[in-house]
């Protein structure tokens, strides 16, 4: 199923379909819509667009829609319906002398021509984009360190909206007064000192533990610092961002 008799200019993607009687080849995914498919059928068979043999084209169109698995595509089905409607209108007897008669194909022809123009323009755009796509703009602009930041704009309205957002997002004000809780460094020092009876080395996290409050945490930290100051422990960090280790100093000096 390689190359069919028609070498479409557009990219080949997937399945081919061949209709029984008329030998035309259509390719799935290469059509950007029912007008495209219709135009393809007409142009490929070198049909005069102003005198479309609707009966034949409608049949081919339907076959193609089936073959392409486009049965689900409302747009294609709509076009198929329109073609059949035109076919029927053409079959109706018309008065020989009726000057008011309008070819039921006229509107379709107009749309097809209009669409064909758009396609030609699209091709021009594609070629233009392809050519210009080979010209690259500067990809990256290093920030000169000494240059001031870009100027900014602020509007009053913007500012007021921001204020309102902030107020909106604010938690309910705390109405009760927080009872002051004094730091208890002495108590914490006693507690921490006693923990070194268990072992000689603690990480700061383990030592301070999960404090019940900020005051407790601060008390513990101050206690550790105080113990380090008096030489009871040494504070070390073996690697950057590693955990802080508190180690009891050898007690020979004290002993």
């Amino acid at each position: 199923m390689g190359a069919g008799p028609s070498a479409s200019l557009r990219p080949v993607t997937t399945s081919l379909a061949r209709s029984g009687d008329a030998s035309f080849v259509v390719r799935l995914d290469t059509f950007s819509g029912p007008l495209d498919l219709l135009l393809h059928l007409i142009r490929e068979q070198e049909i005069d667009i102003t005198d479309i043999p609707i009966s034949r084209v409608a049949e081919q169109f339907l076959q193609a829609v089936h073959a392409l698995g486009l049965n689900e595509a409302a747009e294609y089905l709509e076009m198929a319906a329109q073609l059949l409607r035109i076919k029927i209108q053409l079959l109706l007897p018309r008065p020989f002398d009726d000057e008011e008669w309008e070819d039921p194909r006229a509107e379709l022809v107009r749309r097809l021509l209009e669409y064909e123009q758009i396609r030609e323009l699209a091709e021009w755009l594609a070629e233009q984009a392809r050519q210009h796509g080979d010209r690259f703009a500067r990809g990256w602009i290093p920030e000169p360190p000494e240059q001031p930041d870009r100027p900014v704009t602020v509007g009053l309205e913007e500012l007021l909206l921001a204020v309102e957002r902030v107020i909106e997002a604010m938690p309910e004000p705390v109405l009760h007064r927080v009872v002051p809780r004094p730091l208890d460094v002495e108590g914490a020092t006693r507690r921490i000192r006693s923990r070194f009876d268990e072992r000689d080395e603690w990480t700061l996290g383990d030592l301070v533990g999960r404090s019940r409050s900020i005051a407790d945490l601060l008390s513990s930290l101050l206690a550790v610092l105080e113990l380090a100051r008096v030489g009871f422990v040494r504070i070390a960090q073996r690697q950057p961002f590693g955990s802080v280790v508190i180690r009891r100093e050898p007690t020979d000096a004290a002993a």
């Binding site: 021509l113 064909e116 984009a129 050519q131 010209r135 690259f136």
Partner: protein, 185 residues
């Protein structure tokens, strides 16, 4: 290179996007229109004579420094830059309709293309190639679309005037529509 030419080079170099003449004029407020054009010409000459890989192009109603096309293959192959993503046929056709009929509503585009263009419009808008330019009359006051400066940048054209006129197209029979109005005059 004289001072103005140097300033022009520095500005085009630092901006990356196309700069209109009105912006470039700020570099040396006492420089005339002609002097600016002369400076841009001098810069081009300098690039040409020096055998540089870059060039000044006129695009999207401005001036921009870009690499010469003959080096595209090599630097794309070396994976130093990626070529811009190709536009799909659907995107190209939609762009063609918008370019020629802007401002235009989704319904009008769909009427011409015969398919739904919802997804294509969204993606073109996200890529900044088209934008909503207002609302039309009529039912539901539909959003109207137009092309952006990036559209011209992508194509490497100065403005709508550089797009082919409908009369120049090979499609023989002109449809009895108002398709020609935008470019016709």
């Amino acid at each position: 290179m004289n001072r103005l030419t140097q300033l022009l080079e520095a500005a085009l170099f630092a901006a990356a996007h196309p700069l209109p003449l009105s912006e470039l004029a700020k570099l040396q407020p006492d420089a005339s229109h002609e002097e600016l054009l002369e400076g841009l010409r001098a810069l081009r000459d300098q690039y040409e004579r020096g055998g540089h890989a870059v060039d000044v192009v006129e695009v999207a109603e401005g001036y921009q420094l870009v690499t010469r096309p003959e080096f595209a293959e090599a630097i794309a192959e070396a994976q130093i830059v990626r070529r811009p993503r190709k536009l799909s046929q659907a995107a190209l056709e939609t762009l063609a309709v918008i370019a020629y009929r802007q401002p235009v509503s989704r319904a009008e585009i769909e009427e011409i293309r015969g398919v739904s263009v919802d997804g294509v419009l969204r993606s073109l808008q996200e890529r900044g190639i088209i934008e909503a330019v207002g609302r039309g009359e009529g039912l539901g006051r539909p959003m109207l679309y137009g092309t952006t400066a990036l559209f011209f940048e992508l194509l490497g054209v100065r403005s709508l005037d550089e797009l082919p006129r409908l009369e120049e197209l090979s499609v023989a029979l002109r449809p009895p529509s108002d398709l020609g109005e935008l470019t016709g005059s």
